[in-house]
């Protein structure tokens, strides 16, 4: 009896083991590969599925994907986190024929991959899961539309902002009667306020990451070229940067540098640390830090908690159109021949999930890409959204037909940095930037 029982148990165990290893069970879970930037924070949010508890880009996107996996037992989204922006790796993956299924791509970069037919047009897939491009904001829809087709699910619009330490602004006597910061309306006024700030606080007006940096220089230049109505990319394959408008912008930033109105030698993370430590009045950083800075300002004992934290779009310093450089993040889907219908359906569900949870993503500080969220009372009630809301109208990208925008950003940043820090004459730097970019675009 005992022997029979033992045999029965062994047989049952074997059957169970074989069954669990059989493809029948494996087919029940459809795996899709997801690749993203926004950093890694598994120690804090690796298992969190309560998105409301997450803060910051990394925390929210990690929790959102966790929640997607938890809500969809039949799908497993396997995530690879890459260092920002991750395009070198992505390009190599495409070249090797092994791209991820879904990947974060900036709107400004979509053209690079779309022009090589590496991305899947999403019109049909989005329609199949009930996501309509009509629901996207205008900026979002324009950002993902190439040749009349949708090549990404826009999840936000972002831009650079003035992040302000109100305690230091108060010390510098740069607050309005209602407690809001006084911002300049011209270059001369900016210099006067920066000087006043330096005299009264002993600290620089700006906290900037000028070391090992190209993006900040470039975004600043684009913003103030837009504000002067400069059509510097009239042709997508030829730039005009050796112009009086560009010179005016570089001269302004050089003056800020030379007069000590900015921190120097700091890289990105050092600049964030410096701003949080109260080392300067205004940090030039993106929408993505609003959530983290708000959290810091609400924490007792922090520098931002002393007098508060405010955030505003870049001030209008020139007499042209009201504008500032903007871009957006999207989820794009790689074009693959060997994808199963189940995987395609799973990707559709993934995109729908992010479209439906755009509010949670907008808590990072980015503007939502869904009109309904942008207009919602829930979004408007988030901290500082009243002051940053105008960027929905101000935000201006480069023409989407301009390719290699990140490589161009590096060139502009290198040359502008050299001019501002005095390694090069401004005219020479602008001429070099122009010729280097045009050489790049001539050899696409």
């Amino acid at each position: 009896m005992t022997r029979h029982f033992r045999l029965w148990i062994m047989a049952a165990t074997s059957v169970a083991a074989l069954a669990s290893a059989s493809p029948v069970f494996a087919q029940d879970v459809t795996e899709i590969t997801v690749q993203r930037f926004f950093g890694a924070c598994d120690a804090d949010f690796g298992t969190n599925t309560d998105v409301t508890k997450a803060v910051g880009e990394c925390g929210i996107i990690t929790s959102l994907i966790n929640k997607f996996n938890a809500d969809n037992a039949d799908i497993k989204a396997t995530v690879t986190t890459v260092e920002w922006p991750g395009y070198d790796q992505l390009t190599a993956q495409f070249a090797a024929g092994d791209p991820p299924d879904v990947v974060t791509i900036h709107e400004s970069v979509l053209s690079d991959y779309q022009s090589k037919d590496l991305l899947l047009p999403l019109d049909e897939l989005l329609a199949s899961v009930g996501v309509s491009a009509d629901g996207f904001t205008e900026a979002g829809r324009n950002g993902v539309t190439k040749d009349g087709k949708i090549y990404g699910l826009p999840i936000d619009s972002w831009t650079m902002l003035y992040h302000i330490n109100l305690d230091l602004f108060k010390q510098a006597d740069l607050l309005n009667g209602d407690g809001t910061p006084k911002l300049p309306t011209s270059v001369d006024e900016l210099m006067a306020q920066a000087e006043q700030f330096k005299q009264k606080t002993g600290k620089p007006y700006f906290v900037q990451n000028l070391a090992n940096e190209t993006a900040l220089y470039t975004r600043n230049l684009y913003t103030y070229l837009f504000q002067q109505d400069s059509d510097f990319f009239a042709s997508p394959t030829k730039v005009k940067l050796n112009t009086p408008e560009a010179k005016a912008v570089v001269e302004m930033y050089k003056k800020i540098f030379d007069n000590g109105y900015t921190t120097k030698d700091m890289d990105y993370s050092a600049a964030i640390q410096a701003f949080l430590a109260g080392e300067g009045g205004v940090q030039l950083n993106g929408t993505w830090v609003i959530g983290d800075y708000t959290a810091s300002a609400e924490t007792a004992g922090t520098e931002l908690n002393k007098g508060g934290y405010a955030v505003n779009p870049y001030p209008q310093l020139f007499s042209g159109k009201k504008a500032q450089y903007a871009d957006g993040h999207t989820w794009a889907v790689s074009a693959k021949d060997d994808r199963t219908p189940e995987q395609t359906a799973a990707i559709g569900k993934f995109l729908k999930f992010f479209a439906e949870n755009d509010f949670d993503w907008s808590r990072t500080g980015h503007l939502p890409a869904q009109k309904a969220v942008l207009d919602s009372a829930e979004f408007k009630a988030l901290p500082h959204r009243d002051t940053v809301a105008p960027i929905a109208a101000l935000g201006t990208p480069l023409p989407s037909s301009v390719q290699r925008q990140f490589a161009i950003q590096d060139i502009v940043g290198e040359e502008m940095g050299a001019a501002i820090t005095g390694q090069k004459e401004i005219d020479a730097a602008l001429a070099d930037a122009e010729s280097r970019i045009n050489e790049l675009l001539a050899n696409l």
Binding site: A95, N212, A270, D410
Partner: protein, 312 residues
């Protein structure tokens, strides 16, 4: 006894001859001998020779990451030598080699001389100085970033005690390459030290005893015995380091990203930027061939220097 052995050998030979033909010359060329080198040859051809030829072929074409376009002859090379950033990166690479190789050779020799003794303290320091070599480039650059980062870094803290500002090794165009060189020397010092140690331990003690009997002082002993004895190792260390440091990439990529304004961009980082950021694979391949030639010259120098030494 000897006759008995000879006789038994002859019997053994004749017995073999009786059964089969005498063996062929084992040194004769036979195709099946190639089987011994075939595994290595396979990987050598597929992993080294083919990519090399493919790279040369690419350098004559307009190519991006996703396909090869038309033949452009030497146009990529012409673009390369008209690109001041490339020329700057070549200059930066030579400057970096100049900063690191002598320092690595001399410091490695100094440490080896100081630690070439059988004590526990020496063993501890040998392990300590070698320990940095086992770290990955990511960890090394992270450590040195913590040292160099302005305002909050170790260096800034130390300078702060004296109310002075620390040099900006990560953002000053005149210091960026020096900062990378310092991190590299710290990282790579272990290997030269170990090579010198092994060379020093092969110098016969009798020669030093003879020198001591001749009343030679330390300097004379070092100059006349130690240095000549380890000369080949010295050349080896220098040339290994020249070849290695020509391929600078990770430290520059992670510490300064080649900046400010390309002041610390080495050739490999230039190739990476051109091929992977700009997708200009033909130009990147052409730059790779130039780097290949530079390293080949260094390797040939090693070959000729060591060969001449051997002949002498």
């Amino acid at each position: 006894m000897v006759e008995a052995v000879v006789s038994s050998r002859e019997e053994f030979s004749s017995s073999l001859a009786g059964h089969k033909a005498p063996p062929a010359n084992v040194n004769a060329a036979q195709w099946r001998n190639a089987l011994f080198v075939a595994p290595y040859l396979f990987f050598f051809v597929t992993m080294l020779v083919f990519p090399l030829v493919w790279g040369i072929w690419l350098s004559f074409h307009k190519a991006d990451t996703f396909g090869v376009g038309k033949f452009v002859g030497l146009a990529n090379y012409a673009r390369l030598f008209g690109d001041r950033i490339f020329l700057l990166s070549v200059g930066n690479t030579f400057y970096f080699v100049l900063l690191t190789v002598p320092a690595l050779a001399l410091l490695g020799l100094f440490l080896a001389l100081a630690l070439n003794r059988q004590t526990r303290t020496a063993a501890f320091f040998r392990a300590a100085y070698f320990s940095s070599s086992v770290l990955s480039v990511t960890i090394v650059t992270l450590i040195w970033r913590i040292v160099f980062v302005p305002d909050f870094g170790f260096l800034a803290t130390v300078y702060g005690w004296f109310d002075t500002k620390a040099p900006a090794f990560l953002s000053d165009p005149n210091l960026a390459m020096i900062g990378i060189a310092i991190a590299t020397i710290w990282w790579c010092l272990g290997l030269p030290m170990m090579l010198f140690l092994s060379a020093l331990q092969q110098v016969p003690a009798e020669i030093y005893e003879a020198a001591a009997l001749d009343n030679a002082n330390r300097w004379q002993t070092f100059r006349s015995i130690t240095l000549p004895s380890i000369k080949r190792t010295f050349i080896l260390v220098v040339l290994i380091q020249v070849v290695l440091q020509f391929q600078l990439f990770g430290q520059a990529r992670l510490m300064t990203q080649g900046g400010p304004n390309n002041a610390s961009k080495p050739i490999v980082l230039y190739i990476y930027d051109v091929a992977f950021k700009r997708w200009d694979l033909g130009l990147g391949a052409a730059a790779s061939e130039i780097l290949f030639i530079l390293i080949l010259i260094a390797a040939m120098a090693q070959y000729f220097l060591t060969r001449n030494r051997g002949e002498n």
